[in-house]
């Protein structure tokens, strides 16, 4: 009952802003400057049946998610390494700080010198995701209960059992939170890389073309697609992660 009420409240809030947007578009009266939500939806509906639309979605999703996947793998390895060896932690600290502080545009322009435009979004989304997930996994590792670790040492628990009983319950909540943030970041930075790198057949390329041809409707439609894709992949990934957490740790984890 409460969730239905909450749903209607949220839908009401979205409806309010859509009406306001529609009114603003009608007041401006020129679609080049501000397209109405109805027109943006019409443009999107026109894009949906086209094969090149789905090719672009596949092209960009594949590369951006590859960058995310690499970010997950490398950040977990580096975080474990940093926990194990202080030298690794010391060496990585300035690198992670640098990646976090550097504007994404600087990375994109620099990376264009090293990699082809088609692979740029892989590298950029990887780089943007890396410090977020590295930090999340480090936080999770640090939150592991030292008393349980002592217990595991005294009873000489094998690594697999230590992982399942002590490390994963500590790391997974922080990792989940990090993934939620990182998935949004990798879509934003990946598409930004495509807009600058202009690989043929990408969403970023479509956005750029919409901009130079003043096709504001398409610009809004593609932006809407990016938001939807980002939200859908986040929901899907987190649902899979929750399933995995339930399978590994048991369903009771949530109640503790």
């Amino acid at each position: 009952m409460r969730s239905a009420k909450q749903f209607f409240r949220q839908a009401g809030a979205i409806g309010f802003w859509l009406v306001l947007w529609q009114c603003a578009a009608m007041a401006v009266g020129q679609e080049v400057f501000l397209v109405s939500p109805l027109q943006a939806l019409r443009t999107l509906a026109g894009l949906l049946p086209r094969a090149d639309f789905w090719q672009r979605v596949g092209f960009s999703s594949g590369r951006i998610l590859l960058g995310f996947g690499l970010g997950v793998a490398v950040s977990v390895l580096l975080a474990v390494g940093a926990q194990r060896w202080q030298g690794v932690e010391l060496l990585l600290a300035p690198v992670m700080q640098l990646v976090k502080a550097t504007p994404v545009a600087s990375f994109i322009i620099l990376a264009l010198v090293w990699v082809r435009g088609a692979n740029l979004s892989v590298l950029i989304s990887f780089l943007m995701v890396l410090p977020v997930l590295y930090g999340a996994v480090r936080t999770g590792i640090r939150s592991a209960d030292p008393k349980l670790l002592e217990m595991a040492a005294v009873f000489r628990l094998p690594l697999r059992r230590r992982l399942k009983a002590v490390w994963l319950p500590a790391v997974l909540p922080a990792f989940r939170q990090g993934c939620s943030t990182a998935l949004g970041i990798c879509w934003k930075s990946g598409v930004a890389a495509e807009v600058i790198g202009l690989p043929n057949g990408s969403i970023g390329d479509a956005l750029y073309r919409a901009k130079i041809t003043l096709a504001t409707g398409e610009l809004f439609a593609w932006t809407f697609v990016i938001i939807l894709l980002s939200a859908a992949f986040e929901k899907l990934f987190l649902a899979l992660l929750d399933q995995l957490t339930g399978a590994v740790l048991g369903k009771e984890e949530a109640s503790c």
Binding site: K147, E150, A153, V154, P169, E252, S255
Partner: protein, 191 residues
């Protein structure tokens, strides 16, 4: 046989033990007033604390009840016990259930994650984990905390039947437990 020779432990300038010698070849109760270093001594024997001097030999593989319960909160009582046993958990299931029954733990409680158990239930779980785990030496730091008199008697009976003559050091202030166990009492302040 657990042998402690010329053990010394300092924390900065403070000396906790100096030239402590003790041999344990059977179950024994370690008594001392609070602050005399019972827990520190057990932690040294567990290998969690380094002595400043002296040697400990013969501890082998240690099974312990810690000062705190140290149960994995997301696991059930049975899973917490099975965690420290080698091989598949299923083969021990019945033995664990029987022991919990002896300790007065009802079946429905055993389905709950450890984070939802009461203090006394957690303590029984920690005690059973130490008793069933494969090991050469048993080190039990106040294992009866939070148990009512009936549970205490059940726990001492199980402990006596399960420690199987292994070198065992148990710390407690509880005269009822000392009486029920009937083991040799070692007074730390007299060593």
């Amino acid at each position: 046989m657990l042998k402690i020779q010329h053990l010394e432990k300092r924390f900065g300038d403070q000396i906790l033990f100096r030239d402590l010698n003790l041999t344990v070849d059977a179950p024994a109760i370690l008594c001392a007033p609070s602050g005399w270093g019972k827990t520190t001594l057990l932690r040294i024997l567990m290998g969690l604390e380094r002595p400043t001097g002296g040697t400990v030999t013969g501890a082998g593989r240690v099974c312990a009840v810690f000062q705190e319960d140290r149960l994995c909160p997301q696991l059930t009582a049975v899973e917490n016990v099975a965690l420290v046993l080698p091989g598949a958990a299923k083969q021990y299931q019945q033995d664990i259930l029987d022991c919990f029954q002896q300790l007065g733990m009802e079946d429905e409680v055993l389905e709950l994650p450890a984070c939802r158990l009461s203090g006394g239930q957690k303590r029984r779980c920690a005690l059973l984990r130490a008793l069933l785990a494969p090991g050469d030496t048993l080190l039990l730091d106040e294992p009866f905390t939070g148990m009512d008199p009936d549970t205490l008697l059940r726990a001492t009976a199980l402990l006596k039947s399960r420690c199987a003559g292994r070198p065992t050091l148990l710390t407690t202030h509880d005269p009822e437990a000392i009486r029920a166990l009937g083991w040799q009492v070692i007074r730390l302040e007299e060593l």
